[in-house]
Subunit: 382 residues, 2 copies
């Protein structure tokens, strides 16, 4: 995705306005509680925090899961540098050279970075735009399990597709992981943004799979606090947690003040989530409605997170993005998205697909989608 940055800089230099649908940085305000807690805590010496996390944040995460009906011990939680570090530690803990992880495709590209760093291999389960990228198909996953398979890695609600598993689908994956004695790594950082249910779902609710389920969590999207870099690894598998704790001790601790701020976030009014979710849902509806008005676009309604993927009537989304930045403009405006290929491990897949992050306000989204429609028309007329 980064290869378009210089083109975007040049386009802006020429006076073009760019609507950014290419990044997952929410525009929702970070709750004031975060900043207040940091201001109030000002210590004389900014000391290392405990490697597993500061007590008030561990308690806050424990309390949050308690409200979801999931009873955790403090030792089931490790605070990490965002969900990213939780994933990195996990991969380094569970993978030996050549070990495999099954992951539905398209998926978050940084998973590959972490899996490769640990010497592992991502084994993708393909999906299609026509089927709305839904992947909850037991046979497809089962057919990929072999003696090198260590884990199934899911993101629900999902980045980049917005696919959200139902409770029944989650139970199916839980059973599969148990039967084949695999880790079930579930990246649930978008938990609050599921539009078909008011229930907050988590794999942790299946207590019969306690040794298999590992949750990657974060305050980044939940509280629009990406820059805090505060995440968590949650699992009841003691052996795994002890292994991950060694990495926590190796890097000493997570930023002390950000943890104190993050702890305060967990006490924000539930109204915050309701408002944020309603806002994202409105935007999703807008984007889907506008996309479907464009001839030749394939787009199923995503059920969660703040992303969707769509297939466009263009030969190559990379070339199309270059065209939008270098040649196209409508009233001095253009649009950016994330071309689809980088979300696929299978070479050649996703070539005419794009990921859209609906993180702009309503009227900007409408205009961005109009620019996309005009751009497609212009691109195919060249």
């Amino acid at each position: 995705m980064r290869k378009f940055h210089p083109l975007a800089v040049e386009a802006m230099r020429q006076g073009k306005r760019i609507y950014h649908l290419n990044i997952g940085q929410p525009d929702i305000s970070t709750p004031q509680a975060f900043f207040d807690a940091i201001r109030e805590s000002q210590p004389r010496v900014l000391e290392y925090a405990a490697s597993a996390g500061v007590p008030e944040l561990l308690a806050a995460v424990q309390g949050y899961y308690g409200r979801l009906g999931v009873s955790l011990q403090e030792q089931d939680i490790l605070i990490t540098n965002g969900g990213s570090e939780a994933l990195m530690m996990l991969m380094l803990s569970i993978l030996d050279e050549g070990d495999e992880i099954i992951v539905p495709e398209p998926f978050y590209p940084n998973y590959t970075t972490f899996i490769h760093a640990a010497g592992g291999v991502a084994c993708p389960v393909p999906t299609t735009p026509e089927e709305g990228y839904r992947y909850a198909d037991r046979e497809k996953f089962e057919s990929r399990i072999n003696e090198r398979t260590r884990a199934i890695l899911l993101t629900t609600p999902g980045n980049p597709t917005g696919v959200a598993l139902t409770r029944e689908e989650m139970a199916m994956f839980k059973d599969l992981a148990k039967e084949h004695n695999l880790y079930l790594i579930c990246d649930e950082v978008y938990r609050e943004f599921a539009y078909e249910t008011d229930e907050l779902l988590t794999m942790l609710s299946f207590e019969d799979a306690a040794d298999h389920v590992v949750i990657v969590d974060s305050v980044s999207k939940r509280f629009s606090a990406c820059g805090a870099r505060v995440g968590a690894l949650v699992s009841r598998n003691r052996t795994l947690m002890d292994e991950c704790m060694k990495f926590c001790q190796g890097r000493l601790s997570v930023a002390t003040l950000d943890q104190i701020g993050a702890a305060a976030l967990y006490s924000v009014d539930p109204g915050y989530f309701a408002a944020t979710k309603a806002e994202y849902k409105r935007r999703r509806d807008t984007v889907v409605r506008k996309l479907r008005e464009i001839p030749g676009v394939i787009c199923e309604e995503p059920k969660g997170a703040f992303y969707l993927m769509a297939a466009l009537p263009v030969d190559d989304a990379d070339k199309f993005q270059t065209f939008l930045l270098e040649e196209f403009a409508d009233n001095q405006e253009t649009v950016m998205f994330a071309p689809g290929e980088s979300f696929y491990a299978t070479p050649g897949k996703g070539k005419n697909e794009i990921r859209i992050a609906y993180i702009l306000k309503q009227e900007d989204l409408e205009r961005a989608m109009d620019l996309l429609a005009l751009g497609i028309e212009a691109y195919n007329k060249r």
Copy 2:
């Protein structure tokens, strides 16, 4: 070291006061500039920072090295989650399964965590308490170089020994790394705490070894800001930096507010360093003087950082520490240090050695050393 924690908790429960010489957490105040900058920056949305670091911090680090006579480009610097993450990224970037890193022993135990995570092997160059743990011996290092050797890893001024290389010794290692085409990784996080010189030394000053030298840096000790978790990886080797940048992108960014605070730290008055260094030097002198009054202790004067290692007239420092916590007390007080074995890769070495962190104020240090002397006497009389 952590195994003594439960014993310490129990000792405190029984009303004992413990003098902690076992941890590297400075007691010097963090400059107010850090907290002020964070308070002033309060953004509406706490966004991800750029993966390489926020511009103001990159500029601050660049300016700091400029004042040391080292001219860097912005792309020679990557901001990391403390020096720890810089080390982790480095190991993952330069080591394949079975590759070796030569490191003088005793060394910082977490190096092993990072080297092992990358599948590498630490190849120790042994030193002794009698020679003050000095390791700048070309032949000893050269004899350990083989076709699997990728790097030499040095800490100067050093944790745990306080050994600080002279400019001439640094030049020797630089030549060695060049001749054998190795990375020369230099952990210089204690740079400001060298007691034999007022010059701030860095391997980066050898421009003829630009492709070999890699610096691990941090604000943790320099500004007594361990809990900020802000470090840096600095190198002019473009290929290596590109590789490390991939890991930076994978974990997205370092905490935004801490970076803003850290940038402000770089503008503190130079008087801050002079006062801090003078304070640590006084403490070092106290600890060395008191240690040398204890019969049978072997302790050369350390030249930097805020640690020293010493050999004690006891059979086993682990057992001695247990004794100090469980059985010993003088006027309801006792003392903790870090037993030496964990700083050695060679099995059985360091058994009667300890590391002392002189991070307590003068009178507490005096008392702590008296407790150590009394403890040794009592332990050997059992």
